[in-house]
Symmetry: C2
Subunit: 546 residues, 2 copies
């Protein structure tokens, strides 16, 4: 890679990041700053996400093996809290399995404000009446347990009537419960995983559950269904909606299902369907499926219960079962995605069709961060003679974000031209380690290459796909030849999240550089002339406030 | 890669392969032997597949740019014929566009035995009354043209009433026509690509078409739908069918749709739905989608009209639009898949569920081939002390097949073990170029790594995914811990086809080694002890008979 540096700015020197207390093993480094990781041990699915309106505190639980940095039993609910959805304080594990050969598997938390369960008395503020509904996995069965907390979600007491729901099955898990206002009932979605069914149950009290319907064999099946969830959205305002509208209100529902293994990208992913839910049945508007995050590292999405503004916020597990137990981090494994706000939009899927789509917006509280200088660039056209190279401050520590808006002249390249705009995010201490991202005109797609590193895991693990892509639609058609594209990216030491066209599409992928080799150089170049115009290119380094 | 050779057999020396007449450019080499390629120029979708029962001859047409080895207008129907479905004789282009800025785009051929079209007289044998239905693409529109042949499919005469079907659209293409015996009508499936619709039309005479229904917004949408096709199958015998059965007969129908770009694997793939077709509407049994070939290089499947045994045979284009114009072959680009026979089976998708699935069987006429010695191996267990290495004959030229059947002891490895069985297919003149294939116990998946090569295209093109995988179910559960897996593979100079469990799943991927570096070494090794038993491992080199 030969880059002509025409702009080289020194970033303002700020204090270095908050020290990270972890053991550094061989290649076991580069713990993200604003993506939640456990201090020690193994993490997988997000669980029990809820908002405590009394304390104004967000709670996040997770599948947790505190004894090892690989998955294993006994499995607990780990716990972390946040005031800002950007930085997390790890708490003691909140729910333990009853036996060591067993697991407190995935589930959810609701706030039983009206004490429908009878678990609470006036000593517990109604806003803190947290009830967890989770799967108790033993060698013989998976059943749904409920537990309640009288201390604001730090410790839980098991209901003495557990299991609250059983089905004589070893493959019955991941209950996600919501309050359905219209029917004044609790609604549970739960996976009968290997039957490819999302069962819907209702309950007046969280203890007694009535089977209402099954959503079955729809979309992508993979090996099995996991981690379902129903969320209610405001439908976008549209004079000419491309989807069935509801005569009584302007809401739409989405059903999320995670599939693993056997997602077409390889391993694990989360799909969704948009439609209507009437209190007993979810009916999608159309029988097509959409993948929520097109990268390799986003699974088991769960949305928060009781967000203060009524909007939908969620978190995915930022790994993939195909290689999660081998990634070179130590003594911890796995991080979450950023918290994302989800909303509905009409997405221009191609020039002729709009589709109702879930738009993802990363939630970052910038008040928690310090910033370096923002580098920015605009010009008329960007060609092979004017590559950009930014050298960033060495005193920052591996958290950067960028905004890139560009136009592509579709008439200015031939079928055999590799008409790329490539963005290189390059390591400081070892420039052989870099991410290459970019757009290419003939594929009309955005590519992500995480294969350029000296880390053995990346070089050797054949499931760690190094090249991913996103079929990238324009954010705007300027004229018949010229289209505009936008991408926002955030790289946090070993995880890269890309949001295309303000979040119409997302791709989340982990990456691994050798220890302490943080991105401090950002290069931009094109392979052809006359094709690309950079409307905006901004890069800034960030770090945690002390 | 350190391999302990414990078995090294010399293959029988046979004559070298049929000379291949092509120009060898820089890295532009390794033309497959039994995968159809054009002698010169560019090829994409299979078109007009039919069987001439008089001549006992299979006809294959294809999207063809004879003027360049990249896609471009004018685009023709290239043509090839085969007596054996294994070797092909390229013929002159069969259908030309009317103008140079236009294309004879994809379509199909039927045999109008009863002269419903009125195009034929007694001079044309009823078995050779070929009528092509294809898309005429101009800068302004896509319409459906028909053309007929009175010379057995070598030249075509355009119908003077063309277009036979138009829709005031630039995105209306890829008609596939079949004869529907029950309704005594011709049935066309054709893509209204960017509306995500497969339109179904009927006709008594191939000239006048009536719109019957649309199959819309189902499964994976990608950017658009292309290349639809309906095929009729015998349903498997089942006492306890997991799918709706038809009271009047034991048939099932499949609807195939290709999507590009925007397949989750990246770029191009073919999905299918199984259900019933009543002459006007196709209704899938379930609204889930399946991907026919899980690799990166299988698109635009089309099935033959009028196969002599009534079974379903088809061909895919063995490339991917994300990189097809850049692959290092010259002066030709792209090959087909092997011809595959498709049938329905009940597939054990996980321990609890069977799904009706399309099984793929490669069609190879071994009478067209000469063979080297067959190397085979069986043993009790296969561990880290007894890797296998076979040195194959240097006088063969890059066509090998293998059968590998193995059992996996699921209790014999831990969560952090990379419990692989790896098969290396290694180049002769440069052993740094090899394919690594294999199974890994924790992922329970089969991996394919085509990234180990000195070819610049592979090293540089970020859309050429080097690592693919297949969620691999056992072919048989031997006991609670031990499962059996089977894979058949065929590598033909630059294309690898893998068939799992007798074709329940398939993955087709091109690969590129430097010129003349053919696979002549096959190594097998494991990363853990006590896990793998090799029930069968057979490898044989093959070449074309002179």
């Amino acid at each position: 890679m030969k880059l002509l540096s025409i702009i080289t700015l020194a970033a303002a020197t700020l204090a270095s990041a908050t020290p990270i207390e972890l053991k550094y093993g061989n290649e076991s480094i580069n713990r993200p700053l604003i993506h939640m990781t456990p201090s020690y041990g193994w993490m997988n699915d997000p669980n029990g996400l809820w908002y405590d309106a009394k304390e104004k505190l967000w709670h996040y639980y997770f599948q947790y093996n505190p004894n090892d940095s690989v998955w294993g039993l006994p499995l607990y609910w780990g716990h972390a809290t946040s005031k800002n959805l950007t930085t997390w304080d790890q708490q003691d594990a909140a729910i333990a399995p009853l036996k060591n050969d067993s697991g407190a598997y995935s589930g959810s938390i609701v706030v039983d404000v009206n004490n429908t369960s009878g678990f609470f008395d006036n000593a517990t503020d109604p806003r803190q009446r947290a009830v967890a509904i989770w799967t108790y996995n033993t060698p013989d069965s998976e059943t749904q347990y409920i537990s309640y907390s009288t201390d604001g979600g730090y410790t839980f007491i098991n209901y003495d009537g557990n299991p609250a729901l059983s089905n004589n099955s070893t493959q019955f898990r991941d209950p996600k419960v919501i309050w359905h206002e219209e029917s004044q009932k609790w609604i549970m979605t739960v996976a009968k995983s290997q039957e490819f069914k999302i069962a819907i149950y209702s309950s007046p009290n969280l203890k007694n559950w009535t089977h209402e319907s099954d959503f079955t064999k729809e979309g992508l099946l993979g090996f099995q269904y996991e981690c379902p969830g129903l969320s209610k959205f405001s439908a976008p305002q549209s004079d000419n909606a491309t989807y069935p509208t509801n005569s009584t209100d302007s809401t739409k529902w989405a059903l999320f299902i995670s599939i693993n293994p056997g997602s077409p990208q390889g391993g694990s992913s989360t799909e969704y369907f948009i439609g209507d839910f009437n209190g007993t049945h979810f009916v999608p508007d159309f029988p097509y499926t959409s993948i929520l995050d097109l990268g390799r590292d986003f699974y088991a999405l769960q949305n928060f219960y009781n967000s203060p503004d009524g909007e939908v916020y969620g978190i995915g597990w930022a790994s993939n079962w195909m290689y999660s137990n081998y990634v070179p981090t130590d003594p911890w494994r796995s991080s979450t995605s950023l918290v994302r706000k989800f909303s509905l939009e009409e997405f221009q899927a191609n020039p002729e069709s709009k589709l109702l789509n879930i738009k993802s917006t990363p939630v970052i509280d910038y008040d928690t961060l310090n910033f370096g200088e923002t580098f920015s660039y605009e010009n008329e056209t960007f060609d092979t003679n004017n590559s950009l190279s930014y050298d960033l401050s060495k005193n920052f520590d591996g958290l950067i974000e960028f905004n890139l808006t560009y136009t592509v002249n579709g008439s200015a390249f031939g079928k055999s031209d590799f008409a790329d705009l490539s963005l290189y995010l390059i390591g400081d201490s070892n420039s052989d380690e870099y991410l290459r991202l970019g757009f290419e005109g003939n594929a009309a797609a955005f590519f992500i290459d995480r294969g350029n590193t000296d880390v053995e895991f990346v070089k050797e693990n054949p499931f760690f796909t190094t090249r991913m892509s996103v079929n990238n639609q324009p954010s705007r058609y300027i004229d018949s030849e010229i289209s505009q594209y936008k991408v926002y990216g955030i790289a946090d030491r070993n995880i890269l999240e890309l949001y295309f066209n303000d979040g119409s599409q997302v791709s989340t992928n982990t990456y691994f550089f050798t220890g302490g080799n943080f991105i401090t150089e950002v290069d931009l170049e094109v392979g052809v002339d006359g094709v690309y115009q950079i409307e905006e290119f901004k890069v800034r380094q960030m770090t945690l406030k002390l």
